[in-house]
């Protein structure tokens, strides 16, 4: 479903080159629920934005649903984003002056879907997240958990093949976070492929598979000396 090989992302200025990702390899199969973890600044979010075709990469290869995406133009990338990818952001990113219904409608509008089909899909998605009765409410009238559910409904409405979630519970209290996580698990059980970036080990543990990123690379925790050094220090301290 999602395969990156030797991917690199370099930010260049006149004096310095910063590698956000280097020799980054990952393979997510259809139907998997993968948690990407790592410390702040390790490159998790950069990976997610590249995976979601929101950012280009400097080297390597990226195949999404069998398509090599590096040569695609903006229109083709936008179409793939619209049809195959659903985003869930930490800050929800709902458009404040659109009500719940209109927020969920946004990706469907860019697909050129007929009004009747749009309405059906929106209401189905809102039913699924338990917010059908709030369709006419504005984001400011909802709790954080409800806003994230709307964002999930927006991501699901277009029936994407891949859900990308960036710290989906990062802005929520424990109870709301649990609700959102249960929803994601339910969506996964129904067959969705989910890649979730998180720094919360508890959330990561609920995914099928964990991928750890340090300094822009995927590492095997069992073999990485940096992990052992950190564990050793932690043991000594305790």
């Amino acid at each position: 479903m999602l395969k990156m090989s030797h991917l690199a992302k370099v930010y260049r200025t006149e004096v310095v080159e910063t590698y956000a990702l280097r020799d980054f390899n990952i393979n997510v199969k259809e139907g998997e629920f993968v948690a990407v973890t790592g410390p702040s600044g390790s490159g998790k979010t950069t990976f997610l934005t590249i995976a979601g075709l929101l950012e280009t990469f400097t080297g390597g290869e990226y195949h999404l649903d069998g398509v090599e995406v590096s040569k695609l133009d903006d229109n083709a990338r936008s179409r793939i984003r619209n049809e195959k990818i659903g985003f869930i952001f930490q800050a929800f990113n709902l458009i404040p002056d659109l009500n719940v219904f209109d927020n969920v409608e946004v990706p469907l509008r860019y697909r050129g879907m007929k009004a009747a089909e749009r309405k059906q899909r929106i209401m189905d998605a809102l039913e699924r997240v338990g917010l059908a009765s709030r369709a006419k409410h504005y984001p400011a009238e909802l709790s954080g958990g409800q806003q994230q559910r709307v964002a999930i409904a927006r991501a699901l409405a277009g029936s994407p093949r891949l859900l990308l979630a960036d710290e989906p519970t990062g802005n929520l209290d424990t109870q709301m976070a649990r609700g959102v996580m249960e929803l994601l698990e339910e969506i996964h059980r129904e067959g969705a492929t989910i890649v979730m970036v998180t720094h919360d080990p508890e959330l990561a543990a609920r995914a099928q598979r964990n991928v750890h990123v340090i300094d822009g690379q995927v590492v095997d925790l069992a073999e990485d000396p940096r992990f052992h050094a950190a564990s050793h220090l932690a043991d000594t301290a305790s």
Partner: protein, 434 residues
């Protein structure tokens, strides 16, 4: 998608009412001032004979004595009686007419209204077909009426309204300067602007109310008005103007192709050389032949201050547009998160660009409508001025359409840079920084 973009534009404008109002007012002020001056310029520099002006010519020849001769100096704008009649009788054009202006007393023959002054034109029969003058009733007089000095007149519809309540007055008589004349025709709606065929009456003078054969006017010595330029010995007594060394008549000729115009120019040159050979003309042979629009340019009919005002107003419009660009840039960049979200959800750069330009277009439309109202108010002020052209300053359909097109196109163009900048926003960065 356009419907969706319109819906989003309306939402966005509602959300930022003050900023939107500022942009609409900026566009409206620029459009209002620009269209006020452009309308005046359009009226003053318009083609008085659309579709025909390129075929109507007035010649310049110089019958003056050598006294005061300057090489390539200005020529005379009018012709003498002798030259006018010679050119008229040569019949080298499809139509030709000799004319001068006048002002005289008019009264219905039954004396039901007190006499009053009316502007008049003394001319020859071809005046009417040559200038394609529409007739509401009756007909124009013909060449035999000119020859026979028949007491006939053609009147304007305004005069017909005043004297005969708008009824068909052909066959009735009016008393012109004490002589009864039979009305043979009533002119319909005809007011060429500028008054190209005789600028001596005022560049933007009204069409005359009474038209009388030139031969009759000369026989009755009807009061003449306009300009007269004499030279050499002899006077400019009204009764002997036919023989005087004075130019006081306008001559127009219809030549239906450039080839015919070139032939006519040759004919004029031969005529001047012939007159020199006869000893009438002294100056080196030189002729000019202007069509209507060339004549308007040569005579600088459009006042210089109107051109300057138009340039200043356009400059002001440009300043307003630059302000609009700044305001739009601020407005669109403030929505960078929304743009980022839309991009993440599948909007291409092109879609975001189109959405923002639609919003710019709506602002332009609103600015155009408000600008139209300001332009109308501006034209009311222009009409209140004492200038001769003031009464002509009205917005016609052409200028109305131009106003709206200019407002929308200019605002959309002003929106190109802000929209381009907004759709270049990196969505990842916007979404990360939330």
């Amino acid at each position: 998608m356009f419907g969706y973009y319109l819906e989003l534009a309306m939402r966005s404008m509602k959300r930022n009412r003050v900023l939107t109002a500022l942009m609409v007012v900026a566009v409206a002020l620029g459009i209002g001032s620009c269209m006020t001056t452009l309308t005046v310029l359009h009226v003053l520099s318009g083609d008085p004979m659309p579709g025909k002006s390129q075929n109507l010519y007035t010649p310049q020849i110089d019958p003056r004595a050598m006294d005061g001769y300057v090489e390539d100096g200005p020529m005379l704008d009018q012709v003498t009686w002798i030259d006018g009649m010679n050119l008229l009788r040569s019949k080298r054009g499809e139509h030709q007419a000799l004319m001068t202006g006048g002002a005289m007393t008019v009264q219905p023959s039954d004396g039901s209204i007190d006499p009053f002054y009316a502007n008049s034109r003394y001319t020859t029969a071809d005046f009417f077909p040559m200038f394609a003058i529409p007739l509401l009733y009756g007909r124009a007089w013909n060449a035999s009426d000119d020859e026979a000095r028949t007491r006939v007149a053609v009147i304007s519809s305004e005069l017909n309204d005043k004297l005969f309540h708008g009824e068909d007055s052909t066959g009735k008589s009016i008393r012109i300067h004490g002589t009864d004349m039979r009305i043979v025709g009533v002119i319909g709606d005809w007011r060429p602007t500028p008054h190209f065929y005789d600028l001596n009456m005022g560049d933007f003078a009204n069409t005359e109310d009474v038209f009388v054969p030139l031969s009759v006017a000369r026989e009755l010595l009807l009061p003449r008005s306009g300009s007269i330029d004499c030279w050499g010995p002899g006077g400019s007594a009204e009764e002997s103007l036919e023989k005087a060394s004075c130019v006081w008549l306008q001559f127009w000729v219809q030549l239906d192709s450039p080839a015919k115009a070139a032939e006519y120019r040759q004919f004029l040159l031969h005529y001047v050389q012939e007159q020199k050979a006869l000893g009438r003309f002294e100056r080196p042979a030189r002729v000019e032949l202007f069509n209507v629009m060339q004549w308007m340019d040569y005579k600088q009919v459009v006042p210089g201050d109107v051109k300057l005002q138009t340039l200043l107003a356009m400059g002001f419009f440009l300043v307003c547009l630059v302000n609009t660009v700044g305001l739009m840039l601020a407005k669109f960049m403030r929505r960078s998160v929304e743009v980022g979200v839309r991009r993440a959800l599948g909007a291409s750069r092109r879609a975001v660009f189109a959405q923002l330009l639609t919003e710019a277009g709506i602002i332009g439309l609103m600015g155009g409508l408000l600008g139209l109202m300001l332009a109308m108010a501006g034209l009311v002020l222009v009409r209140a001025q004492p200038a001769q052209y003031a009464s002509l300053a009205h917005l016609d359909m052409e200028m109305l359409v131009l106003t709206m097109v200019l407002a929308i196109v200019a605002t959309v163009l002003a929106g190109v840079l802000p929209a381009w900048r907004a759709c270049q926003i990196a969505p990842a960065l916007q979404l990360k920084t939330q």
